[in-house]
Amino acid sequence: LVYYIARRLLWMVPLLLAVTFVSFLLVQWMPGDAFTRLEMNPDLSSATLDRFRSEYGLDRPLVAQYGCWLWGVVSRGDFGISVESGLPAFDALFLHGRLAWTLLVSSTTLVIIWLFALPIGVYSATHEHGVVDRFAGFVALVGMSVPGFLLGLVLLWLLVVVLRVGDYGLGVGGLFDNEFVGETWSWAKAGSVVWHLWPVWLVVGMGSFAGWMRQVRGNLLDVLRQPFMLTVRAKGIEERSAVWRHAVRHAANPLVSMMGMTLPFLVSGSLLASVVFNLPTVERAFWLAIQGQDPYVVLAGLVFFSVFLCVGNLLSDILLLALDPRMRGGT
């Protein structure tokens, strides 16, 4: 297993190099650059704009720019400077708690998806065509069809205009209510964070929840119809135990690999949610960097998300190896 992990980690190096190069080309091919919008400012001269471009190395040939950037990353861990803030690109993207909030939102969403998708999927499979199964199917259809940003705006509208939560001192968007601005952490403040995050969990997790729940249901239905389940039941094992101890365990394998694939979806989902709900996450900083064509911050973000994807895939493969002895033959 250690050899397998080491091999996978080594493979990530050329993969990430390729990702950085393609990302660099994509950033360069975007029309204009970080200073193009300043061209419309009548108070700035061409000489000033040229000086800005020179200071950030944007006037150099493409290969030289990429080479310098890559050397900075490899030799010093320097991802370049943010044109927008003047901070190191890495800091502009990850510091000020952004990485922590991203990890918190992603990990809690993942846990919540599991907490709901697994039991509902199992119940739907064991009560096929029942009322709950049909209702869950409808929710899954809606969850997969409605775009996250639309769901977010509708939720906010419902909270503010229909339910008028403001009359009860409850806020929407951001991390906590106004009364906690500048206050030290307390249970009340943590409670306010939960209040502000539940719509985010719903918006970010809805699509994945729907997919997982249907996957659990489908896999379990297949397993429940297999001959070994007949043997299990014939041995007189209680139905609940037969389902949870034998069937679900077999049905869970594909879900483990799905979990790894879900990580990037969570990140892309929380990108829009971070903007709509005004969360101080890496995704929001990345989004603003794209809007402002801040090249080195965009690159740092793309590298981060690629690493996130690779690590997610690796984790799911490792879990799969741990769960299914049949998979170990090929390592």
């Binding site: 204009g32 919008r37 061209e39 108070d43 510091l95 909270l159 106004n178 929001r284």
Partner: protein, 382 residues
């Protein structure tokens, strides 16, 4: 030192300001200003969320976009807030349409269109198609004003301003009013007529006049202006298409002289010379006619000399007279056709006292908006 000091800045979330105890200003009763001990400025990226936060009573004041006004107005009385919108106080800046008078010049193509854009009669005809009243009504809910000149309406030298030195004489104040008949006459006079009876005007060689106007996709005010123009052009048989573009794509097209027609704007200031780079034949922003640097037109040279004369004089009366002439000539030249500009607007909860002391030159929630020294909370009054 200002009325407030920075207490805390949390990136992407908020800025907390506390009262400066050494602030120099006092009110008439001898109370030291500012009245509020603490101000929190929320950093909200999404404008829709900011609107919802205001409706949810999380923000005391808010600067709405024109499209927010119907939503706010219908709830103002129930929720206890006031929406102020003063159409007499437009903000600094300008919105315009311009033609690429060098269209296809580098490639040696499209001479017909280039000639069309260089023809003053065509630009004047197009200026007559700009239905400012419809734009103000449909896009700004009445909260915008027509704009006729390169100077910001907030500038003291803006020639349409009532008061010092102005307004323009009655016969010059609306150089090209919305007039479809006059536009059609000018086009007919140029020989731009419908030759094959398909409903669209053609060049003298029989090919259809196809024009494209671009603006930044997502800027609803500008997109709306383009769509109104497309409709008005259709009414006189001029085939105009609207093509939204990414901001940097459009700017790249402007600066490389590869656009067709563009509708966009500049930020502005009180300085009447701030747009000299747009009109000077060799100016960086002279994208309407970059080749004017080698072969300037008489109008370009004239406008440049007026800009230079205005900047050179210290006599305010003389300066006003120069800028008045400059604005008349710029409007008449119609290289840039100015459209409409939104008025100053803001919303605040009724418990905010002295909220009407807002400064039209800033946003109400920003430092230049409310006179932050004087606003107070009525709920705390005895």
């Amino acid at each position: 030192m200002g009325p407030y000091m920075l207490e805390e800045f949390v990136a992407d979330q908020y800025v907390v300001l506390t009262r400066n105890p050494y602030y120099y200003a006092y009110d008439l009763r001898g109370v030291q200003l500012p009245y509020y001990d603490r101000r929190v400025i929320h950093i909200v990226v999404d404008h829709d969320l900011a609107l919802l936060k205001f409706l949810n009573s999380e923000l005391d004041a808010f600067d709405p976009s024109p499209s927010d006004l119907p939503v706010l107005a219908s709830r103002a009385a129930v929720r206890g807030f006031t929406v102020e919108a003063d159409s007499a106080l437009p903000m600094y800046g300008s919105a315009w349409i311009c033609f690429n008078q060098d269209f296809g010049l580098a490639e040696g193509l499209d001479e017909d269109k280039r000639s069309l854009y260089r023809d003053l009669r065509f630009r004047q005809a197009f200026a007559h198609l700009v239905d400012r009243e419809a734009m103000i009504g449909a896009l700004f809910h009445g909260l915008a004003v027509p704009q006729w000149s390169p100077l910001s309406i907030g500038s003291p030298y803006y020639a349409e301003r009532e008061g010092y030195g102005g307004p323009l004489s009655a016969e010059r104040r609306t150089p090209y009013p919305y007039d479809l008949t006059r536009a059609a006459e000018l086009l007919d006079g140029m020989g731009i007529i419908d030759r094959n009876r398909d409903g669209w005007r053609d060049y003298p060689d029989g090919s259809r006049v196809d024009l494209t106007i671009s603006t930044v996709g997502g800027l609803s005010d500008y997109e709306g202006q383009c769509l109104i123009l497309v409709d008005r052009a259709r009414r006189v048989g001029l085939h105009l298409e609207y093509a939204p573009a990414d901001a940097n794509t459009l700017l790249a097209q402007l600066f490389t002289g590869t656009f067709d027609m563009a509708a966009i704007g500049f930020t502005g200031s009180a300085d009447p010379n701030s747009l000299v780079g747009v009109y000077a034949p060799c100016g960086r922003l002279h994208f309407a006619h970059f080749s004017g640097c080698e072969e300037p037109t008489a109008a370009e040279l004239d406008l440049l000399s007026l800009f230079e004369a205005g900047a050179a004089t210290l006599d305010n009366d003389a300066a006003f007279s120069i800028y008045q002439r400059l604005q008349e000539e710029a409007a008449e030249d119609a290289s840039f056709i100015y459209t409409v500009y939104p008025s100053f607007r803001y919303a605040y909860y009724n418990y905010v006292g002295n909220a009407k002391m807002a400064n039209p030159n800033g946003t109400p929630t920003g430092e230049n908006g409310f006179a932050v020294d004087f606003v107070f909370d009525r709920r705390l009054m005895p």
